[in-house]
């Protein structure tokens, strides 16, 4: 039914619409299966919630996240301030809501940098093999052998603290696993008959890699990236905690824990609220990643 109507309506762009229909069917089928698994559904729910909160932050937040009200500082949770207030009297709930934007910003930026770089390096090195593979993989090894947070620290120290620099630092440490994964997938695909067939049609290596190999690696890379997001959130929070990520007065979750640390014993909500937010979101990405793997893995 669906196929017929779509095809009839757009006779000129038949192949695109057919592709869209295929994608749509996959999505519908996929979301059915996601909902089948309660853990994945929960993960998806939290991630969707994060997106909505970030998008509608001004409407959801009850206060201005930056407005200080010293007379009202360090108030425990109440109906006026749901998660209490911090040492400057700022509303923690509103800061968490706005902080979700920063978290999402970091995740998106890192993913946009890391995904393509990892995919390109992995597929190129797997497809060509030989010297190219050796060079690329040794570079990857070097990046893998540094502890992530230490390398990020070094970069931020060199570039100066700031959100963008933190993003670059995190991106630099998180592309190697993606490259490794893409290479391993490519090594398996390289000898596949359909790749040999397109070689025999005279396709250039670039064309083969980007049109034929990359789409096959994409699903496992997406799964890996989703799982990575949990790590990214934690590293970003870690950098924020050390004062090297987002700078005051930005309501970044890690930085919030860091400043709340000094008041932690008497005023637990300063640390508990952002801590719970970090935990919840990174757990949600892990659950979603697991579910996506079950869904996208061609071996299933």
């Amino acid at each position: 039914m669906m196929t017929n109507s779509t095809m009839a309506s757009s006779a000129t762009s038949k192949s695109t619409s057919a592709g869209m229909v295929m994608l749509l069917q996959m999505l519908v089928h996929g979301s059915k299966r996601i909902i089948h698994n309660p853990l994945t559904a929960a993960g998806l729910f939290v991630v969707m919630l994060l997106l909505i909160v970030a998008m509608f932050a001004p409407w959801i937040a009850t206060h201005n996240p930056l407005a200080q009200e010293l007379s009202n500082s360090l108030q425990p949770p109440s109906s006026e301030h749901w998660f209490g207030t911090d040492e400057f009297g700022r509303d923690i709930f509103s800061r968490l809501v706005y902080g979700s934007r920063i978290t999402l910003y970091i995740i998106t930026l890192v993913t946009v940098i890391v995904g393509p770089i990892g995919l390109a390096i992995g597929t190129i090195s797997g497809y060509f093999g030989g010297v190219i593979d050796t060079i690329f993989m040794r570079i990857t090894d070097i990046f893998i052998s540094f502890p992530g947070l230490v390398l990020a620290l070094a970069f931020v120290a060199a570039l100066g603290p700031g959100l963008e620099h933190a993003v670059i630092a995190i991106a630099l440490t998180s592309w190697p696993p993606i490259a490794r994964l893409a290479r391993a997938e490519t090594l398996q695909l390289r000898k596949a008959d359909y790749i040999v067939a397109v070689q025999l049609q005279g396709a250039s290596s670039t064309r083969i890699i980007f049109r034929h190999i990359v789409p096959m690696c994409l699903s496992s890379v997406i799964v890996r990236l989703t799982m990575n997001m949990a790590g990214i959130i934690l590293t970003a929070a870690g950098l924020g905690f050390l004062g090297l990520g987002a700078q005051a007065p930005l309501p970044e979750w890690g930085a919030m824990i860091s400043t709340g640390r000094s008041y932690m014993l008497e005023h637990w909500w300063l640390v508990a609220a952002p801590g719970a937010a970090i935990m919840l979101v990174s757990l949600a990405f892990n659950l979603l990643g697991d579910g996506l793997r079950d869904l996208l893995d061609p071996r299933n």
């Binding site: 359909y194 067939a197 070689q199 049609q201 064309r207 096959m216």
Partner: protein
């Protein structure tokens, strides 16, 4: 003129004491419009010959020429227009994420050919599939339909030569018959030259005019199909293969004569 000319083809893997020679001085001449079969058991090197022609190995030595052009070690676009290949496994030879239309349009895009739409329609018709197959993806097709698509993909560049690597051995017998009929019909209509690898003597004598029997990288015997069918084979290895195939006519009772 010989459409495919293979002279003194040698190929080995590894080096030094680990060197293992896969092909020994293989000579094959296939005339234009002829279909030629390569038969042998696994490990005989029959598929390797095909893969050398298809540019999958770069370190062979000897002379290869196709349609009068001698072949370089690397694939070039000219060779792709002259020669295409159909693979054994119809489940592995089509890109799982590409629709049939994408798969068929790809070679046309690579060679910047015009009239894509028309060419795809007519090639689908030639292999006995209707236009509705365009928008399907491989996992919606049966093995036989996939193999038809693979043949269509090979023919869309209008090559003169098809390399067939066990094109029916992964199919059910009833589907095998359909594909063999199709291949025979296409050959007669389009005047194609076939070089087919198979282990099935029945298939080879049905489709091919001449046959080369390979064993351990050597060509043991080259013989015409009719001669083969009329017990004209002279080499004991060929006779042994024939005998195994003729088992339909005699009860199996003799183990000793075939023990290696």
């Amino acid at each position: 003129m010989n459409m495919i000319n293979i002279e003194g083809l040698n190929l080995s893997f590894g080096s030094g004491s680990n060197e293992s020679k896969i092909l020994h001085d293989v000579n094959i001449q296939v005339k234009a419009g002829e279909s030629f079969g390569l038969v042998g058991e696994s490990g005989s090197g029959k598929t390797t010959v095909l893969r050398c022609l298809a540019g999958q190995y770069h370190h062979w030595s000897g002379q290869l020429s196709v349609n009068g052009n001698s072949l370089q070690h690397k694939l070039d676009k000219k060779r792709c227009i002259d020669m295409q290949m159909v693979f054994q496994d119809p489940y592995g030879s089509l890109h799982p994420r590409h629709s049939i239309e994408t798969a068929l349009a790809e070679p046309l895009k690579i060679h910047k050919m015009d009239n894509k739409d028309q060419r795809i329609s007519s090639i689908l018709k030639k292999v006995g599939l209707d236009d509705s197959f365009r928008y399907r993806s491989p996992h919606q097709l049966s093995g036989g339909q996939r193999q038809r698509v693979a043949i269509a993909r090979a023919l869309i560049l209008e090559p003169q030569i098809l390399l067939l690597d066990e094109p029916t051995s992964a199919l059910d017998v009833s589907v095998q018959a359909e594909i063999l009929n199709l291949l025979k019909e296409l050959k007669e209509k389009e005047g194609l030259t076939y070089l087919m690898v198979t282990h099935d003597l029945g298939v080879v004598t049905y489709l091919c005019d001449r046959v080369a029997v390979m064993q351990n990288g050597h060509i043991v015997e080259t013989i015409s199909s009719s001669n083969l069918a009329n017990h004209g084979a002279s080499e004991p290895y060929t006779k042994m293969l024939l005998d195994c195939c003729y088992h339909t006519e005699a009860r199996l009772n003799d183990t000793t004569s075939f023990a290696n």
